[in-house]
Amino acid sequence: MATTTASLTLSSSDLTSDSLSISATSTLYKAGTTIGLDQTTGLTKKVYATAQTNTVLVAASAYSDNGAHKLYIKNVGSSSTDAFSLEIDATGLNAACAVVPIGKLYGGDFLYLPWEGEYDIQITTTATDMELEYMIIYEA
């Protein structure tokens, strides 16, 4: 069993009149247990020389359903205008839209979220020559 921890610090001295200082730390466990997640893609780097539209970044078919997988993605660029749009592929599942947008990662932005491995995670880029890093820590 592996022990992996994820920590977050959110801070601001001027967002509100009360300084913000939030810290959270979690240990990454398999769904509903206290057994550590024991598999990972490693930190993967992708370079997209051409613009991408609804390109699969993470294929659900490669992961177990209903897992407590954790997904980390970072736009390693520095542009404040170039972004990766993160999307859930809901083809055939969502009557309203086949691609559900989550949000955009601008230069330097990252996300960390739980992912069940049921739907593909896709990206759309706003420019050419964009780079991202991602890592999945998962269970079989």
Binding site: A2, T3, T4, T5, A6, S7, L8, T9, L10, S11, S12, S13, D14, L15, L20, I22, A24, Y29, A31, G32, T33, T34, L37, D38, T40, G42, L43, N66, A68, H69, L71, Y72, K74, S80, T81, A83, S85, L86, I88, A90, L93, N94, C97, V100, P101, I102, G103, K104, Y106, G108, D109, F110, L111, Y112, L113, P114, W115, E116, Y119, M135
Partner: protein, 132 residues
């Protein structure tokens, strides 16, 4: 303009044979710009009485922007989780002690973020950083 930063650190000494020690910091800025986000809900805490799904953030209430969502399941019971949905699609489950941080566009009225607890009387902490 405010300056708000988020730092994530992922560590493990035994996940692989090469120790994991990843750390990165992002500054929250507006969509396509370099101005700091100036709006926030503040850090909220909600105790759910039953297991009904509810809308945490209504896509109709926010403009399309570079909002950031922070959620934490404060439970210490391993089997208790919150299911997170966006636009009625299931993103993932936040188990006891887990937190997440992700960008949210709120690009449609239907792009709500919905939460469903797996048990009664669970407590979720949440905060939205708003691109106004």
């Amino acid at each position: 303009m405010a300056t708000t930063t988020a730092t994530i650190t992922l560590t493990s000494g035994d996940l692989t044979s090469d120790a994991l020690a990843l750390s990165t910091t992002a500054t929250f800025t507006n969509a396509g710009g370099s101005n700091g986000l100036v709006g926030t809900t503040g850090l909220g805490r909600k105790k759910t009485g039953d297991t009904s799904q509810y809308i945490l953030f209504d896509g109709d209430a926010y403009a399309n922007g570079a909002h950031k969502v922070y959620l934490k399941n404060t439970s210490s019971t391993a089997a208790e989780y919150f299911t997170i949905e966006i636009n009625s699609e299931q993103m993932g489950k936040l188990y006891a002690g887990d937190w997440c941080l992700f960008p949210w566009e709120a690009n449609a009225d239907t792009n709500d973020i919905k939460i469903q607890p797996s048990a009664a009387n669970m407590v979720l902490e949440y905060m939205l950083f708003i691109d106004e």
